[in-house]
Subunit: 379 residues, 4 copies
């Protein structure tokens, strides 16, 4: 069972992810995790804080000579802007944030809540996912994410291998697959920013190289579609999750949705069992299980809740109408969201991989991976 | 901690939900659960099986004189069509179902998988939710769901109280809020059915009467938005989940999304704390917590995967192309999905209620509910 | 992840165990589970109820032609004495039972609590364990338990293979390994019973054929010693748990406790890796992992809490001193406890087996079992 | 739900406990946690390492101005002896440790396992428990532990209030309640140490001030006796757990075991409901619930597994017999065990308290505590 929790406040000493159940024997490339952390801080439209911090992970546990021990890994991302003790109470809750419901729930103040609810916490999730995807890579499972919509601009998808798409995406200022349209989008961000307003968008994550049979159909709380939806919806500011066609599937008739099953003896090689699917409308998941096709997950991010031109709020002490508090914030963080969703999806897929192939050592997992595919092919 | 699992195959002896952590002292109205079960079997477009069964729950445990004991409740729904031992192996996996990935995952056959993966299992989830909503009702929390889209027909929402809307919905053959448009939809279903094809749709669930502060912002796996997304996406055939505006939120700017916070001393009464929100784009959840507004969840159901005019498949024994198997099935089950989603949402909300107010006895929960609102109001 | 919950009251319709995560492909022998259930009802010193019931399991789910599907199994044991609706409230809580703390905790009555707290519930746990041990048997893992102390009579252990010891035990009226001493014990039980008093005792469970490496050292909540201790201590009336030497280990010096490690190339065969241990003071567990030696667990059962010559209590309505209630009960149920502990231990070991070798199908588990031992031997 | 995991190796950078679900509003006294950490390092018979380290906790998250936020707390204990990268592989597994089963399980080396399996990890558990007990203290719940046996010396218990007993214990070099017998014990430790051997012992923990009704009887995995047994048995080197009379209960007859229920209207005050028990043989737990009496847990610690005069082992590379490895170690750590068990028990009790009274804020918990006792008294 591969699992994790995070800890840490936005301006506290550090963010921490504690990852338990990670297999022994993986040589961890810290630089790759840092690259994800830095990507999370980027994307056009980010505010000042991202320039203060340059996130980097350190391991408080779980490694010896850079190789996982099979023991829990405590990943730490130091907050360079660790000024929590100097910060003051906030009286004017910001609509869209945890501020109001959190303060009431805990019968306390707003600061106590917003520090933890801040999207800064996602740095820890990215670190955990950045570790998990290195386990996936051993099995040839690759993950990548990008922005498909930003505000009302639809950028969309693009065919290609993940390395190809990753290359294109990395040349886009907003992490889309259409860098040629960057100017259109950055102009929009600039304009909205000047108006004191904010933007959201849609991100897509694709996972290639998956075996058939991760997840299960047997119990609701272990279905992989449900697990992914939880992980994605639990990311700050996410209000919608789709797998494959998503809502579009609801609008088509069955014959236009379900992916026919073909068989191609020539496609029977390595992990391939010979079953091919001419389409992938299911997004790689049928009945809570991977079906060997690319996993496709989409998420809708609402616009940033902290507006420079603040929304109407109420002073919690006086109960008088006042403008919501403003703390330095971004105009748009959809690019960052694509990194976050990419990494939380990676973690859930890695957890499903460990469920299927065991979690004691990478060496044993690999042998079992081969064994499974041999057994499946010989049927 | 209120939690549940289900058991049961489509044609096995029974479906079972085991509900653990339910508070003592609730007088259970079995008829209300049965009403949900019967509603799940209804809706225009259902096939023959729904006429064989008339589902009804019985309690194997957890009640004394009809009142919950605080011990686990085992809810049983007998399968009148319990013919599993007479059924045969299936060789031609149906696209969109668990058939192919499940058979490979377990290195076994298709029948072994499809019996459990069948949406018949949702009868157990509806039973569990039908119980949970009776706990919610004690606190004035009401849940209702309806169909907002069916195939490419957009029916949409409607203002009103839940009792009003429930009344309208119950007069619609397809459980929509626009019964006047039933003919348009039933004509579509008839036509598609004749073509051997199937239809999906979109359902919406609303929960009224919620307090502020169910769920949490503090840990990703306890956030209520994530919990709801998991529960909903883990329902058979669901491919998308939205909270509040959902994907629409991604396309608007922040000032058009976030719900302003107002204060109205006159609205300070009972569980009301005086904070009002002129809009509810957040769908009642901010940062994984309820904010006192109605909870609004939408789900996209793909069309039924079993088509009378079957899709292309492969015979698993011969590896030759053949048409997918056909087992008696429905043309459209979106109405049923509205019942299922309504009840799984009810369960998760009840679980969050128990997390916040405790689960030993209804009497104590009620006293704590009052206490919490008094404490919150006196700040 | 193999896991289970139970439901059911002492005089309710049925007891239920819902077992989730059980591998596909095991042909279940229902008679063997029934044999455990009947053994649980036996042993010298049992009262009248055991003669009313003859427990037998039925499967509400999870099987097709007697073979597990990989889906959850709902095991039902019908209560022949299902008179809960005719039973009356209890005003005089019995010391040692849930009666007083449970009634206060739930702000309710005693009956509501005692029905669930009754050791009758263990029939469901035995059914679950009786299923789990059939999975163990596929791998040559055998489990057996017996009584080593009854009241102040120390009967002790005995060398032998598990089939041998099981044979001896089954010839003892009290399930001990010393049937020749049965008269001494049954005389004691008779005498104590006439005095209106009750007896407890100590039981021991041994598991043979275990591989090295079930469980883990890496996280406290996944250590197998802790898991076993929880499962055993959570059985009604258990007040102590030991692994291996248990408390005796605390009284010896290190050189007299730890089991030397030897190596015998001739013992390298099948699942044997060649490491031998001349002693087994650790009881088969080192640092929360199996070490290839027999697992040995002991449990102390307190005397039955319902005495025919009742203890001092208080009438909860009047608050006046009265004798505790008496419901038909046993003088001694230590023999039954040996069956219960045997089966809950079997379940936890099976769960650890599934953790290590996966839970999709028995066929795959077997191939992985072989693979693991080959890999371990080739180092 | 209050829960925690730990991370960290013996010679890695740090030990970490991540505590999730801790209520908001507690002013944390770091010095009190440090005092527990230092006590854990003490006790007569400890080796050199305890002199290198002086453990101290720091908070990476969860606090603002020293007060808990309701967000997860990451507690860090830096390893001053963090030399893991300079350490070498170990070829001669030490009997009694994780060395052999762990290396085989992970198909790896011994060092990779022993670093995590080391009892050094318990510093993180003590830190978590040291935090949890500060929550208990708000409700007047006090925890203390001491050594009752060391090797074959029986020191035993003693009547008194916890403050009294804590004072006595703190004047004992081995943390017993009989400091006058310290010379007898320290002489034994010296003698055994000179012989290159090690010692174990028995520790006892008492919790005073508990309300009635923590824990539950309703589901096996939520019973407090089982939870405590798991937490205690999962501590390094623990081989036995008892609650109340423990194994002694098995040897007495019922009338000599169960604690009569009396009622004393004069004892009805504050949290007291008037029910008194002239004895406490149950150790404060009946049917998995607290009964208002002191909780009494005992644990048996085996002697330290690393002996200066090493046990027989096998070189894993050559498979030739060799002596087990020796790393600097203690002769006896039973005093430390008393601190560890004290703190893991404190954590489980705090978790049960949060289950019963909620975990959002201390303020709300206190109001609910009062409410519960009022409701219970008014029946």
């Amino acid at each position: 069972m591969l699992r994790y929790w995070t800890a840490g406040e936005s301006h506290g000493p550090a963010l921490v992810a504690l990852v338990d159940g990670f297999p022994a024997g993986l040589a961890v490339d810290k630089a790759k995790i840092d690259a994800e952390l830095v990507r999370r801080q980027g994307g056009y439209g980010r505010g000042g804080r991202q320039r203060i911090e340059t996130d980097s992970v350190s391991f408080l546990s779980g490694l010896w000579h850079g190789v996982t021990l099979g023991s829990p890994l405590a990943l730490e991302v130091i907050n360079k802007d660790a000024k929590i003790e100097r910060l003051e109470e906030v009286d004017r809750p910001r609509p869209g944030h945890a501020d109001l419901p959190g303060a009431i729930k805990h019968l306390g103040g707003v600061r106590a809540v917003l520090e933890r609810a801040s999207a800064r916490e996602t740095a820890a999730r990215v670190a955990a996912g950045g570790l998990a995807r290195q386990l996936l890579a051993v099995f040839g499972i690759e993950v990548a994410g990008w922005v498909t919509e930003l505000g009302d601009v639809v950028l969309g998808d693009r065919p290609g291998t993940l390395p190809e798409l990753r290359g294109i995406r990395d040349s886009s200022a907003i992490y889309s697959l259409h860098p040629d349209r960057d100017p259109e989008v950055t102009t929009l961000i600039d304009r909205i920013g000047k108006e004191g307003d904010t933007l959201g968008g849609v991100v897509e994550v694709r996972v290639d190289g998956l075996p058939i049979g991760l997840g299960t159909h047997a119990q609701w709380d272990r279905k992989l579609d449900g697990r992914l939806a939880q992980a994605v919806m639990a990311v700050q500011a996410i209000k919608g999750v789709e797998i494959g066609l998503g809502f579009e599937a609801a609008r088509r008739r069955g014959s236009q949705v379900h992916d026919a099953i073909h068989y191609d003896a020539a496609a029977r090689d390595g992990t391939q069992l010979g079953f091919t699917r001419p389409t992938n409308n299911a997004g790689g998941l049928e009945a809570g299980m991977t079906n060997g096709q690319p996993l496709v997950v989409k998420a809708a991010m609402k616009p940033i809740s902290t507006l420079r031109k603040p929304l109407e709020s109420v002073n919690l002490r006086t109960k008088q109408p006042e403008e919501a508090a403003y703390e330095r914030s971004d105009v748009c963080a959809v690019s960052a969201a694509s990194v976050i969703i990419e990494n939380v999806v990676a973690f859930e897929v890695a957890a499903a991989l460990v469920d299927k192939f065991g979690g004691d050592s990478v060496e044993e997992m690999q042998a079992r991976w081969d064994l499974y595919h041999e057994m499946a092919r010989s049927r």
